[in-house]
């Protein structure tokens, strides 16, 4: 089966006054139709920039996206012109952003904002588009949808706004949904609602999801495969079960150990990762994690380990995995 999306050697740099910030550094990944891929990492690991680069949503300059290709159904996104890109964005590939407070336009009703993308991508008339908007609002669980389409974003709570965002994103039956920290701004009980909703709807529409998050718990509950990023590179890629049962990269292992868990024993001491992530302006010569790694050897400081298969389906960029 061909992959739905295949990213080959993606590199995104920002040219700033202080120098070149290497936000994404040779990322390779793929998504199959209907699957949910998690991308986890801490702030500055390059997970959001990867997503924005895929849809070419970064202003160039200051950004520069280089890479072999971003292949979407035999079409290289890197070679598309503005018009072709617009047809893709919101139609075939749509996106949900982190902050539902700022990602909706405050001066238009939510009905208008859902209908806008439907009319653009599905060639529906005004009337049919509104019907579709009501239908979508209903699907995402907003009560009395026919009345609520005339409401403005400020009349909704955070969780409801994120539901509206999901309605917009799924209104054109996209094949791929990129969700960038969709629940980070929400409270846990609302997060549970939204994750359930996304799971149900993407399953119903057979939409592939790229779920970007910093929360290992969300990854464990909602994804089939995971990619772990650190300082702009993928350090590990595995099925979700493999990753949590037997993490291979030292960073993944350390990260999982440092998280306080609800089911921890009493008085258990956390094991933090010492030090700070590297400065993206001055990346080290070797493995980016070497300076904080308990197992680092001389080799780690001199050359960058490639992402290699450590057991079937599991890849790690580490000289000394497990």
């Amino acid at each position: 089966m061909p992959h739905l999306l295949e990213v080959a050697n993606l590199t995104t740099e920002f040219h700033t006054r202080a120098g070149i910030v290497k936000a994404v550094n040779g990322v390779n990944l793929f998504i199959d139709p209907g699957e949910t891929l998690g991308i986890v990492g801490e702030s500055g690991s390059g997970k959001s920039v990867t997503a924005l680069s895929i849809l070419r949503l970064l202003p160039t300059p200051p950004a520069s996206i280089t890479g072999n290709q971003i292949l979407y159904q035999n079409q290289d996104i890197l070679k598309l012109n503005e018009k072709q890109l617009r047809a893709l964005r919101g139609g075939k590939i749509s996106m949900i952003f982190q902050d539902p407070m700022t990602s909706l336009n405050p001066v238009y009703t939510v009905g208008f904002q859902i209908a806008e993308s439907v009319r653009l991508h599905m060639n529906l008339g005004r009337k049919e588009a509104i019907d579709r908007a009501i239908d979508m609002l209903d699907k995402v669980g907003i009560p009395s949808a026919a009345k609520r389409i005339n409401s403005y974003p400020h009349e909704f709570s955070g969780g409801m706004r994120q539901r509206v965002m999901i309605a917009i994103a799924l209104s054109c039956n996209p094949e791929l949904l990129i969700a960038d920290e969709p629940t980070t701004a929400l409270d846990v009980t609302i997060q549970a609602q939204i994750l359930e909703l996304m799971k149900g709807l993407t399953h119903e529409f057979h939409t592939a999801v790229m779920l970007i998050t910093h929360d290992m718990g969300v990854v464990a509950g909602s994804t089939q495969r995971v990619v772990v990023m650190y300082a702009g590179s993928i350090v590990e890629s595995a099925t979700t079960t493999q990753l949590f049962a037997m993490p291979a990269h030292q960073y993944t292992k350390a990260l999982l150990r440092s998280i306080p868990r609800l089911d921890d024993e009493d008085g258990k001491r956390l094991e933090p990762i010492t030090g700070q992530p590297p400065d993206l302006l001055h990346l080290p010569k070797g493995c980016p994690f070497a300076a904080r790694c308990p197992k680092a050897q001389q080799q780690c400081k001199e050359s960058v380990p490639a992402l290699t298969e450590v057991q079937p389906g599991q890849f790690a960029a580490c000289f000394y995995p497990f």
Partner: protein, 338 residues
């Protein structure tokens, strides 16, 4: 309620209302941010205060420090009612109760060096000579695991975790007995969060500090607290030691909250039964009558919405030893288990 001297802090029926103005001199109502909160803290313990945004947990913390006007209720600190003190007297007491803030990026003045930041409380309370102050600053920086040689650098030269360490050093400058930590690690990445949590635990042991730890992350609160109080719409709904709270929650809101938290373990996640609450948090300006939670309560729904939930606000009562819950049907959970 007794206010014996063994309790460092005692909060009695605390209410903090924010008026909603509808024009000049007229008032349309009030946001009941904190609506009758009772708890006490012993010296050396950590009480976790959890709840979702808008439940009143931060307001409670600020009201204790008298940083907000208290509508009614009493706050006893070291046996002394803070509400009866003059502003000047409260200022003196604040040396003994300090705060750690959430956002390490906005809680440090960008134009002050680290040494100036930490010196400010010392100067306010006339700590001593310039030399003594410099020694104290070095001592504090070492205490929080930072190199004293950095004292003359500015906040922007440090990472989030380091800044939070500086904020902690500042809060400890005057040797307080009570430290109110308002979401101290929620702005930090997990790997750094663990560093700061461990530091707080070490400092508590070393300096016998008492922490009121305010946070929305229950996993973090479970880790650091000896006792936990859960808040919903301005009221405490459940309070007990952290072990019992997680093993055997009595209030349906606590149950739902615990089940909503994702655990980083896919095998466990598959097996867990998740209680997904319906709807949003009601407005604190117009909270539901009776039990504030009855509009979203799965237990009330399962019991056919008993009238008492809609009409009578449940008191926070001891349901089993040292386990307080504010639910008319708190024993429902125990029955279900048994």
């Amino acid at each position: 309620m007794n206010n014996t001297s063994e309790n460092l802090l005692e909060v009695q029926d605390l209410k903090v209302y924010f008026p909603i103005a509808s024009g000049i001199g007229t008032q349309r109502g009030a946001i009941k941010a904190v609506d009758g909160v009772n708890f006490s803290m012993k010296k050396g313990e950590t009480l976790g205060l959890v709840g979702e945004s808008g439940c009143g947990k931060s307001t409670t913390g600020r009201a204790i420090l008298q940083l907000l006007p208290v509508t009614s209720g009493k706050i006893f600190f070291q046996g002394e009612n803070l509400n009866s003190l003059s502003l000047n007297q409260i200022r003196q007491r604040r040396a003994n109760m300090q705060m750690i803030f959430q956002d390490p990026f906005s809680s440090l003045d960008p134009r002050y060096t680290i040494s100036q930041v930490i010196a400010e409380p010392l100067k306010n309370f006339r700590f001593g000579s310039q030399k003594a102050m410099q020694n104290r600053i070095s001592e504090l920086l070492e205490l929080v695991g930072m190199n004293p040689a950095y004292a003359n650098r500015f906040p922007h030269e440090f990472s989030g975790g380091q800044r939070q360490r500086i904020g902690i050093a500042r809060s400890l400058a005057l040797n307080p007995s009570l430290v109110i930590a308002d979401e101290p690690v929620s702005a930090l990445d997990v790997s750094v969060q663990a560093q700061v949590l461990n530091l707080m635990e070490d400092l508590q042991k070393k300096l016998s500090l008492t922490f009121l730890f305010i946070a929305h992350n229950l996993s973090v609160v479970r880790h650091i607290s000896s006792r936990v109080a859960v808040m919903y719409l301005g009221r405490i709904v459940e309070m007990t030691d952290s072990k019992s709270l997680y093993a055997m929650p009595l209030h349906p809101y606590t149950e739902a909250l615990l089940s909503a938290i994702p655990i980083p373990d896919p095998v466990l996640e598959l097996k867990r039964e998740r209680i997904v609450l319906k709807g949003d948090l009601p407005s604190p300006a117009n909270p539901p009558a009776g039990c504030h939670f009855h509009t979203r309560c799965p237990r009330a729904a399962a019991m056919g919405n008993p009238e008492i939930c809609r009409t009578e606000a449940p008191q926070l009562l001891e349901k089993s030893s040292n386990h307080l819950a504010a639910c008319h049907f708190a024993d429902y959970a125990a029955k279900k288990e048994g």
